[in-house]
């Protein structure tokens, strides 16, 4: 279960090992260590409590929602009730379509643009790059009023395309891939050109395969970001046919339901479940990706 940062750790552990094998450390140091362990675990338990509470409630009958009885029966009834009460299957389809559309668009557009910035000399390149980076500052998340106006004019309100378009040309993706492409030796490109590859051929055969780890990192960050995104989808979607999970969940918890916390918590776990499970399985990749992709 301990994958986070393990790679670099091994070196650290090896360096510390001789000290660890010494005789028992003095009492003061042992107390110090014990206090640190207690502190770390107290914080860990506090950090787990809200989620653990939600899980307890979701898996137990309503009468145990706020009563902690170790003998309480476990049940999946709340999940069934939540699933029946709102069109979660449709929401899943919508989120899946949204996340895929954005990711495919980002991969194609950012790859092309990054290649242009990394390896082509053209007039206005520097200015164009600054204009791209401007998006890190002026994020689509904030331009909701004007982008809604545009989508309205294009007739894209309440469509997946309307939800996805503002995020497709991602300055961050362009920046990340440009960095990766710049590390590719130009000899490889020259060799491929001699073999008869055109511009797109070189990109596809040489650059894309070499940048695979960067693509993986970017894809994980993009998917988790847009799976969890809320404000823009809330504004642009207004029917069951387009609403992603996050918006569906807020509608469900806000109006469809009274205050049956067991069912709301079950719905919450349904909405965050796939990403949470993927994270538990691929912890190392997730953490490395988030690290690599610092700014989203």
């Amino acid at each position: 279960m301990s994958a986070i940062g393990e790679r670099i750790d091994d070196a650290g552990a090896a360096a510390r090992a001789p000290g660890a094998r010494r005789a028992r450390p003095p009492l003061g140091e042992r107390i110090d260590r014990a206090l640190h362990t207690i502190g770390a675990w107290t914080l860990g338990i506090v950090w787990l409590l809200p989620l653990a509470y939600a899980i307890w409630t979701a898996f137990h009958p309503t009468e145990f929602s706020a009563r902690f009885d170790p003998t309480a029966p476990w049940t999946l009834e709340n999940f069934r009730a939540a699933w029946d009460a709102a069109p979660f299957a449709q929401y899943f389809v919508n989120t899946f379509a949204l996340v895929t559309t954005i990711l495919v668009g980002q991969l194609v557009l950012c790859t092309l643009a990054a290649y242009a910035f990394a390896r082509f000399e053209f007039r206005g390149r520097e200015i164009a790059f600054v204009l791209v980076l401007l998006q890190l500052m002026v994020m689509p998340d904030v331009l909701i009023v004007e982008n809604y106006r545009t989508m309205h004019r294009l007739g894209l309100v309440d469509t997946i395309a309307g939800m996805a378009l503002p995020y497709m040309a991602s300055a961050f993706g362009i920046f990340l891939l440009r960095q990766a492409f710049k590390t590719v030796p130009t000899e490889l490109e020259d060799a491929a050109r001699i073999e008869g590859c055109g511009t797109l051929g070189v990109l596809w055969r040489v650059y894309v395969p070499l940048a695979r780890p960067v693509y993986l990192a970017y894809a994980l960050v993009s998917v988790s970001h847009h799976w969890n995104n809320f404000l823009w989808p809330l504004i642009i979607s207004n029917t069951v046919g387009t609403r992603p999970l996050t918006v569906g969940l807020s509608v469900f918890a806000g109006t469809d339901q009274g205050i049956d916390w067991a069912i709301i918590n079950a719905a919450t776990l349904i909405a965050s479940g796939p990403l949470l499970i993927a994270f538990l399985i691929f912890q190392r990749q997730f953490v490395q990706s988030f690290l690599r992709a610092g700014i989203r």
């Binding site: 279960m1 301990s2 994958a3 986070i4 940062g5 670099i8 750790d9 650290g12 110090d32 770390a40 675990w41 914080l43 860990g44 338990i45 950090w47 787990l48 409590l49 989620l51 509470y53 939600a54 706020a66 557009l109 092309l112 643009a113 242009a116 910035f117 082509f120 000399e121 053209f122 007039r123 164009a128 204009l131 980076l133 890190l136 500052m137 002026v138 904030v142 331009l143 909701i144 009023v145 106006r149 545009t150 378009l165 497709m168 050109r193 799976w227 404000l231 809330l234 996050t246 807020s250 918890a253 916390w261 919450t268 776990l269 909405a271 965050s272 949470l276 988030f290 690290l291 610092g294």
Partner: protein, 291 residues
């Protein structure tokens, strides 16, 4: 390749991304500014040029000032604890501590949850009487508190949620940075007779400065950009006590449909984000080499 052909290919490769960037980043940024000087079109009255009127309205709008000062307080109250807790987490799980893997998992998990889900979970956690927080308080005889329904605690309750969600994310950057610090630096300091406390403040913390700056800027941007939990937990209430700037822009733009006034307030938000991002640009290059 000829220079001319390289130039054409370069622009062609850039074109698709450039079109979308122009349409959904550059154009809306400029049109936000433009529309902030025009009145919002109503049924019988088309939009007309009104100069600085929206900005004058803003200066006289007490809710705008509440949202702005709440947001400043919210930024301060989330950034400082997030950084302190993230650093403590990283230092702990960087040591050989019992159950290190499980601890890392516990700290990081909130990061992958949607903010909407997090808000639901905490909404239940905060529920008067019924929620875990009040149940724990009742064990020691403390009275019930309506955390989200009271003016004094609503904003603080939102801050706690944000810190819970973000600290684990920032932890991984500190962890990565800690693991690049050569152990001999600490050993040398220890040989000189420095205490652990001194080693932290004199050696470790200064070396972590670039990371702290990076985390600071990101936390700052998030404090103004991420308002999802407000929708679920308080809707800005009670009595605007937890109103944040972007949430107010949403209300003005999409509930009162006053897009002109919303545009003027968006300009303020953009100015704040631009300041944060400029700091980041200064240090972006260094951070890349740093890795």
């Amino acid at each position: 390749m000829h220079a001319r052909r390289a130039s054409i290919h370069g622009w062609l490769l850039l074109l698709p991304a450039a079109v979308l960037l122009a349409a959904f980043t550059h154009y809306p940024a400029v049109s936000t500014l433009w529309h902030s000087f025009w009145s919002t079109p109503r049924r019988n009255r088309p939009s007309r040029f009104i100069g600085w009127d929206h900005y004058r309205t803003m200066i006289d709008d007490p809710i705008f000032w509440t949202a702005l000062s709440n947001n400043a307080l919210y930024a301060l109250g989330t950034i400082v604890p997030s950084i302190a807790i993230a650093l403590a987490m990283a230092l702990w799980v960087n040591e050989r501590i019992a159950g290190r893997g499980a601890l890392r998992l516990a700290y990081f998990t909130p990061t992958v949850l949607p903010m909407i889900a997090v808000a639901n979970i905490w909404l239940f956690f905060y529920t008067p009487d019924y929620g875990l927080l009040d149940q724990l308080r009742s064990l020691v005889g403390l009275p019930r508190v309506n955390w989200l329904g009271s003016r004094d605690t609503a904003l603080g309750a939102l801050m706690v949620v944000t810190v819970w969600k973000e600290a684990g994310f920032f932890m991984i950057f500190y962890l990565a940075a800690l693991q690049t610090i050569p152990p001999d630096l600490k050993e040398a300091a220890a040989l000189e007779g420095a205490s652990r406390w001194q080693i932290f403040w004199r050696v470790t913390f200064p070396l972590l400065m670039p990371t702290t700056l990076f985390v600071l800027v990101n936390a700052m941007i998030n404090a103004f950009r991420l308002v999802d939990h407000v929708f679920v937990m308080t809707r800005g209430g009670p009595d605007n006590a937890s109103m944040l700037l972007l949430y107010y822009i949403y209300e003005v733009g999409f509930k009162f449909w006053d897009s002109g006034y919303a545009a003027a307030m968006t300009m303020v938000l953009l100015a704040i984000l631009a300041t944060a991002a400029l700091v980041q640009f200064f240090y972006l290059d260094r951070r890349i080499h740093y890795r």
